[in-house]
Amino acid sequence: MSGAELGLALSVFLACTVEAVEALTIVLAVGTTRSWSSALSGVGAATLALAAIVAALGPALTALPIDVLRILVGGLLLIFGLQWLRKAILRAAGLKSKHDELQAFREETEAARAAGATGPGFDGYAFAISFKGVLLEGLEVAFIVLTFGANQHRVPLAAAAAAVAVLLVLAAGFAARAPLARVPENAMKFAVGVMLSSFGMFWGAQGAGASWPGDDAALLAIVPGVLLAAIALVWVLRRAAHPIAA
């Protein structure tokens, strides 16, 4: 496995783990308070929809000329990755609330109870909330699978990394029977933001016609460089937020 393929698999795995943890919280809340069968039906329908999106768009993307694909995918990944990185930096600097799975679980559970009594058979509320939760969380992963995978013509590898992450989260959730509050979500989002921004910058410049010194080996400098820059920005924001303590 090349360095770029390892980066692809790692980025997709981390992103998918984070999103799967958030989706698991939603499904657990509606499943335990209303109907497991309807909640799991929603999960199945959303998973099929996501698989259809990847299956439909993957071949279309890989059919593009390589330079067009690189600049398109690089630009999109960079814009998308900078959003992840910005939010992760703000959270690390204490300027934005961190995601709390236990609080999210409590809110979803209260909303599910407030939605009215469940009757026998199919529960539309549990289905709809599970479907929406899994689809919305999964769309970001599908986007990363498609862009990363298509650019390296390794959509199956990206999809496999996503599947492993989902299975691990499901297994952990089944074992804990509770939201996975101990998963270091912000650190993982920070890492995903660094990887997306780094690969986006690398491929975008290549697609625009630039040649990186050392070709693929340049990633060995770009990824740590983006990481160090992000850590430095966290430090600067913390100092600005706590000028006396710093």
């Binding site: 939010k87 625009a208 016609g209």
Partner: protein, 75 residues
């Protein structure tokens, strides 16, 4: 037409979000890279400082507008 518009707005919000200046900056940086490469000038150096500057400016805008530990659990 309404559905198409809704779809395009959804795609825009999904990819660009609430930070269009950063997206515009990325497009301009890539355009400058392409221009320099087209002129046979070394162009790889454009993106690293551009990305750092875009991220720093984006954080400055967000930090100015946000009270400490603002909400939003997305992404």
């Amino acid at each position: 037409m309404t559905r198409l518009r809704g779809f395009l707005v959804g795609v825009w919000e999904f990819v660009v979000g609430d930070d269009w200046p950063t997206a515009l900056g990325v497009v301009l940086a890539l355009a400058l890279t392409a221009l320099l490469a087209d002129l046979a000038v070394s162009a790889w150096w454009v993106m690293p400082p551009a990305v750092f500057a875009l991220l720093a400016l984006s954080l400055r805008r967000a930090a100015r507008g946000a009270p400490r530990a603002e909400g939003d659990a997305g992404t």
